[in-house]
């Protein structure tokens, strides 16, 4: 038998096959459009999926770096504003020293000495500023950064560097310690200088009062140096944040290219699939209607 026979089940099976194929195309396009994703599982495109996972991990890291940077910026901003205050206080102490150096009356001297004492207390309060439950200038230590034991001022913190990772391999230290800010590390601390100044003013001794001017300049230098360091750190963090944002944008667009469905293309596929599906259905209904039976009586 060489003629091609059209059998009842044969044509039914092949039509069913064609209808199922068309329905599959439609359902795949529908899933892609509804989810907005081109690849929904690893088998859809294994190598792209690997890259998608890598990009997602990198995005998660940028998110964390942004958190780290924001946290670091808070440390730097707070320390900066506190140290600006310290600069004002020390300048005030210097003015007071200048005034006490000229001839003044006893009552005024006592008042000036009291103000010097309050400047010192203000600076102690600044040195012991707390941030997130810990000393802003105390390194890793929990307690006060600066404390007076008897008549001796001492730095109670440690040399711990509070580090924040703001890029793949960029780590910045966001703290400065009272040790350097207030001259403990340099051997003569600001608080002892102010104690000495207060004592000299009360004693009416002009020479040590004049000598204290150099002390104040030295104290100011320590604070300003730390401020400059903080400013540089702040800049690095800002640059870091810019980089994080830029990198996040790039990663997201790469992820989109890999993962997101091209809507125009998907809709075109859907329409093609629908046309194919409807054609298969129509063909089935037409061909299954015609039969020799209709023409026999």
């Amino acid at each position: 038998m060489t003629t091609v026979r059209a059998t009842h089940l044969g044509s039914y099976f092949s039509q069913r096959h064609r209808i199922a194929d068309a329905a599959h195309v439609v359902s795949k396009a529908q899933t892609q459009i509804a989810s907005g994703k081109r690849i929904l599982r690893p088998a859809d495109d294994p190598s792209s999926m690997s890259r998608v996972l890598e990009l997602k991990a990198a995005l998660r890291m940028r998110q964390q770096e942004r958190r780290n940077a924001d946290d670091g910026q808070m440390w730097v901003n707070l320390a900066d504003s506190k140290l600006q205050g310290a600069v004002e206080q020390i300048q005030r102490a210097r003015e007071l020293a200048v005034r006490a150096g000229s001839t003044v009356g006893d009552t005024e001297r006592v008042a000036i000495a009291a103000e010097v004492a309050s400047v010192r207390d203000g600076l102690v309060a600044i040195a012991n500023t707390r941030h997130q439950g810990r000393g802003l200038f105390a390194g890793f230590a929990t307690g006060h950064a600066v404390q007076q034991t008897g008549t001796v001022w001492g730095y109670q913190g440690d040399t711990g560097r509070v580090e924040r990772r703001i890029g793949e391999s960029e780590v910045v230290a966001v703290n400065v310690s009272a040790d350097t800010v207030f001259g403990f590390a340099a051997g003569r601390d600001t608080f002892t200088m102010l104690d000495d100044l207060e004592a000299a003013i009360l004693a009416g001794d002009v020479t040590p009062v004049n000598a204290a001017l150099a002390d104040m300049d030295q104290a100011l230098k320590h604070v300003v140096t730390s401020l400059a360091a903080l400013g540089a750190t702040g800049n690095r963090i800002e640059l870091g944040v810019d980089r994080i944002q830029e990198s996040t944008g790039t990663l997201q667009s790469q992820l989109g290219t890999l993962e997101d469905v091209d809507l125009a293309e998907a809709i075109m596929h859907l329409q093609l699939g629908q046309t194919q599906y409807e054609a298969a259905l129509a063909a089935f209904s037409r061909t299954s209607q015609a039969s020799l039976l209709d023409f026999l009586r």
Partner: protein, 454 residues
């Protein structure tokens, strides 16, 4: 020699037309039965009788009603069915393996990213109890993801073994059926081939191909021989059953030899002996390297109480993914500090170092990061499934073509049967007409002869 011969040949014509009508009716009745093969009536003209004026035809005989079966198309379809059965089973099983990974959104890769972030959050403030709790939760989440995957893969293995053993039970049943049909078919020696028994046997052989990819040969005397790897499963009326060892996934022949079936059983067997062990080895290596890297780095740090950090995870070597468990339950026992004792409260050096493991080449024997190795496992699963999926799609097309070709040859065409019906109806009417004509002729001879002059 006379009209009586013509009556007999007209009668044979009636019988032949009757057989044709019966067969067409049987065909139409089975038009929707996929296992049915269209039947045809074979007729031969009867031996002629010698007469003085030559040989005269004496009618028609129905010699047989046969199936329009084509053994080549059977063979082609059965080998496609075996391939399809194997790939379909593999795709089903690997689908489950892939789903267990829950990538890209809820898998190990996401849990690992969250873990590194949690360590960095802890580094921001190591005294924050909520940051410590978050680290514990993230560690546990990674461990439980690994355990879930191992559990789901074990479930896939159990499912594959169950599928194999029930398919093998079905195969053994089918082998018995084929042997029984062989006996029945052999015992019918006269009256043409037992078409409907042959159809039943072919249906059983198709199913055997789908399940086990067996080889079928039909002997000259019509018995079906079924074999696998050259070992006989059905030899005439004798059967050799297959047996299955769930612990090894091996299938053996009644003779004791191990056989490699194709079809659905072969798919499950491949999964149990190739794909799954490979995946388990990769996962085992990944989990071991992950746990070892974290344990080592954690042990290098100090807890807030000043004690050296112990191991974060325990696991049983050989079943690392299934047994991976977090040993640290107290948030204060996380060794966040890098130096000690005494431990500075805000020392978060080790938390930072633990977060830094993200970039460490701790996996793949020192060639990959942990995330890279995880992605490699995901890609391997995806690649394996995609390959099998593509093969299945093309196999389905091949099977559909083979099925279509066989349906075209074996199936019933309604129009064709209608034409046959009319042909045989007319033949029947014509034979009946011949009888009437002969009857009238005889009537003339018997009743009208010799009445002249009466």
């Amino acid at each position: 020699m006379s009209g009586f011969v013509s009556l007999r040949s007209a009668l044979s014509g009636l019988y032949a037309a009757q057989a044709g009508l019966d067969t067409a009716s049987h065909n139409v009745a089975n038009a929707g039965n996929p296992a049915y093969t269209r039947q045809r009536v074979h007729t031969v003209s009867r031996a002629a009788a010698a007469t003085p004026y030559g040989s005269a035809g004496t009618g028609v005989d129905v010699v047989a009603i046969t199936r329009t079966r084509n053994a080549f198309l059977d063979g082609r379809l059965r080998s496609s069915l075996a391939g399809e059965g194997r790939l379909e089973t593999l795709v089903g099983l690997l689908d489950g393996v892939e789903a267990a990974l829950a990538e890209p959104n809820a898998g190990v890769t996401a849990a690992l990213s969250n873990l590194w972030a949690a360590f960095e959050d802890l580094a921001l403030d190591p005294t924050d109890p909520s940051a410590r709790l978050a680290v514990l939760a993230s560690l546990d989440s990674v461990a439980s993801r690994f355990r879930t995957i191992a559990g789901a893969w074990d479930a896939s293995a159990t499912y594959a073994a169950t599928q194999m053993s029930s398919s093998i039970a079905e195969v053994n049943g089918l082998l018995d059926e084929v042997a029984r049909l062989n006996t029945q078919i052999g015992s019918i020696s006269s009256g043409g081939p037992p078409n409907d028994l042959l159809d039943a046997r072919d249906r059983a052989l198709d199913r055997l191909a789908t399940l086990a990819g067996v080889t079928v040969t039909i002997t000259a005397d019509g018995a079906a021989r079924v074999s696998l790897d050259g070992l006989a499963l059905v030899h005439d009326a004798r059967t050799s059953h297959l047996s299955f060892d769930p612990s090894t996934g091996d299938v053996s022949h009644a003779s004791g030899a191990t056989v490699r079936p194709g079809g659905a059983i072969g798919g499950a067997h491949d999964f149990l002996t190739n794909e799954l062990p490979e995946l388990r080895t990769r996962l085992e290596a990944l989990v071991t390297e992950f746990a070892t890297a974290l344990n080592t780095q954690h042990a290098a740090g100090f807890t807030s109480a000043g004690a050296a950090g112990g191991a974060l995870f325990t696991f049983t070597p050989g079943a690392a993914a299934a047994t991976l468990a977090l040993t640290v339950t107290n948030p204060a026992d996380i060794a966040a500090a890098a130096s000690g004792p005494p431990v500075a409260d805000y020392d978060a050096g080790n938390a930072q170092a633990l977060a830094g493991l993200r970039n460490a080449l701790a996996a793949g024997g020192g060639s990959q990061t942990l995330e890279g190795a995880t992605r490699a496992v995901v890609t391997w699963v995806g690649q394996t499934l995609a390959t099998v999926d593509t093969a299945l799609a093309s196999q389905l097309t091949v099977t559909a073509a083979a099925q279509h070709a066989r349906n075209q040859a074996h199936g019933v065409g309604i129009d064709e049967e209608m034409v046959d019906l009319i042909t045989f109806q007319r033949a029947y009417e014509a034979a009946a007409r011949v009888m009437t004509t002969v009857d009238q002729a005889l009537d003339t001879l018997i009743n009208r002869t010799g009445v002249v002059g009466r």
